[in-house]
């Protein structure tokens, strides 16, 4: 089979070379401790008396995770191999670098590998006298039924959930409070996506699944994990409707409520298609009497070059609104 078309050097160097490029481009926002090349730390942000927020996970989802490191959002990210949780060590390195004496919060998508590695890191930090708590993101409503919300995957909704927690930490709230805000943000965030093509790992350069032309995978995970079902490729409006039906049903919002919306590209789906989807999403929210307070449209949580898109809606209340509006200044994401 043909190798996929990638602009890389050796596949096994891809993550480290990417990090070299990111540090070269964003040195004013980010730094790495010596001997901890997979722990990426915010230059501005971490400080005494502040809860440290550490995010992380596999590579290949850029700008998630390290693009969201910066003042007002995450203090650090631990970087894994492509689609692989980081091992405990960079998580520990990150925590040691940002600890301000008030404990640290780990936030990441709910995947078995990440849970094991971050939990090991938390055990290691306990020996160092640093309290580490964990809030898993579980916004992918296609990945398990509503009753099993805690087993769902964390996907593109991360950006809103991390943002809320990062703001809470930046405002100087206690670890208890930051954790509460993080859980609250996660509880009110709903994502669902569709995939239109595979991506491929730099090592193998083989499509990581097969999808025939004219088909789409509904509920695809952001690592190419199969979704809830496969079906014929629908129009943008039909896709938006299917996703919005599911989200609106779960969200159970009332007319007049406010929301934040993210229409996210999984990689190769261009802005043209995202805005076509957004037009329908805005229409559906309007019909439901909901007001859009924040919109993001673009590649925020990707699967390298996978084609497809996801829609995230966060059901705001006054606290979450305040958290989303709080300024942040990250390498790849800013709010003023």
């Amino acid at each position: 089979m043909d190798l996929t078309q990638k602009l890389i050097n050796a596949g096994e160097d891809a993550v480290d070379e990417m990090l070299t490029g990111i540090m070269a481009a964003h040195g004013s926002h980010l730094w790495r401790p010596e001997n901890a090349p997979r722990a990426v730390i915010a230059r501005d942000g971490p400080r005494k008396g502040k809860v440290g927020l550490i995010i992380g996970g596999g590579s290949g989802h850029e700008p998630t995770f390290l693009g969201f490191v910066g003042k007002g959002l995450a203090d650090a990210a631990a970087i894994g191999n492509v689609f692989a949780s980081p091992p405990p060590q960079p998580v520990v390195d990150a925590a040691m670098a940002v600890d301000g004496g008030e404990g640290v919060l780990f936030m990441y998508g709910n995947y078995a590998g990440d849970v094991m590695n971050f939990d090991m890191a938390a055990e290691m930090l306990e020996l160092e006298g640093i309290e580490a708590r964990t809030v898993l993101t579980t916004d992918d409503i296609a990945s398990a039924p509503r009753e099993a919300r805690a087993t769902r995957r964390g996907v593109a909704g991360n950006v809103f959930i991390f943002k809320a927690a990062g703001a809470a930490a930046d405002k100087g709230l206690s670890l208890d409070e930051v954790e509460r805000v993080a859980r609250h943000a996660n509880d009110r965030t709903y994502t669902m996506g569709v995939a239109l093509s595979a991506c491929s790992l730099p090592h193998t350069r083989r499509p990581n699944f097969q999808l025939a032309a004219g088909e789409m995978e509904i509920g695809m995970g952001i690592h190419g994990e199969p979704g809830v079902r496969r079906g014929p490729l629908q129009s943008a409006n039909a896709v938006a409707d299917e996703i919005m039906d599911a989200i609106l049903a779960e969200m159970a919002a009332r007319a007049g409520d406010e929301v934040a919306v993210l229409v996210n590209s999984l990689g190769s789906t261009p802005l043209m298609e995202l805005y076509i989807l957004y037009a329908r999403v805005a229409e559906r929210l309007g019909e439901a009497g909901l007001n859009i307070h924040t919109s993001l449209v673009g590649p925020y949580c990707t699967s390298m070059e996978m084609a497809g898109a996801s829609i995230t809606v966060m059901h705001l209340d006054s606290e979450l609104k305040q958290m989303l509006d709080h300024p942040c200044d990250c390498a790849m994401f800013q709010v003023r």
């Binding site: 096994e12 596999g58 894994g80 191999n81 492509v82 689609f83 692989a84 949780s85 980081p86 091992p87 405990p88 060590q89 995947y111 078995a112 590998g113 094991m116 590695n117 090991m120 990945s143 398990a144 087993t151 769902r152 995957r153 790992l201 090592h203 193998t204 083989r206 990581n208 699944f209 995970g221 690592h223 190419g224 994990e225 199969p226």
Partner: protein, 204 residues
């Protein structure tokens, strides 16, 4: 016959080679129900484990089996992360605890290494058999090993366990969100587990 520190090193080198050779197959299996990277994790993990053991043996004359297992654990974990990292790191650490600070053991005691590794994986991952994970290969192999079965019987149990994952609906790990769609595909972690068990079984 004894299983020495040198033998452990050669076991790890062999595992590194096996995983490199099987990388793309394991990735393809993981692509069916997971994220297509299991072969990469196992290749990198075993390569790092072997190289950590090699480095240690060079630095430290007469290093113990436990030292080597611990070095392998750390090497595997730091190179890989993912699910396989913590699981095999814990497995290697338990194996090290099992054999202790000896520089060799009776080859037949490798059966207890298999038991310890299975226990480590269970401790870390909390999986039970039937959930379509690597434990479906490790647990039956460990049971037969503990009960005094021959290495041929141990390997057969692992292989049967791995094969049985094809007909299981995953309830742990990435594939757990697939429901019935995970049916018909073997679990990649169970398949790579039989390769490890096989390499150990040829040594007792």
């Amino acid at each position: 016959m004894d299983f020495t520190a040198k033998d452990l090193q050669s076991l790890l080198e062999e595992l590194a080679q096996v995983m490199a050779a099987e990388r793309d197959n394991l990735c393809a299996l993981d692509g069916e129900i997971g994220d297509a990277d299991h072969g990469i994790a196992m290749e990198q993990g075993m390569a790092a484990a072997a190289s950590a053991a090699r480095d240690l043996a060079e630095d430290l004359q007469d290093c113990s089996l436990q030292d080597l297992f611990n070095a392998a654990a750390k090497g595997f974990l730091n190179a890989v992360g993912a699910s396989s990292g913590p699981l095999y790191a814990t497995a290697f650490m338990r194996a090290g605890k099992q054999v202790g600070p000896a520089t060799s053991i009776a080859a037949d005691d490798l059966r207890f290494v298999i038991v310890a590794m299975a226990d480590g994986i269970t401790h870390r991952g909390k999986a039970e058999t039937g959930q379509k994970t690597m434990i479906d290969a490790w647990r039956p192999a460990a049971d037969i090993a503990a009960a005094g079965g021959t290495s041929t019987e141990v390997l057969a149990a692992a292989e049967a366990g791995a094969a049985s994952t094809r007909d299981m609906v995953a309830t742990l790990g990435r594939a757990a969100r697939l429901g019935d769609r995970s049916l018909g595909h073997p679990d990649p972690g169970a398949v790579s587990a039989t390769m490890i068990i096989k390499a150990i079984c040829t040594r007792f």
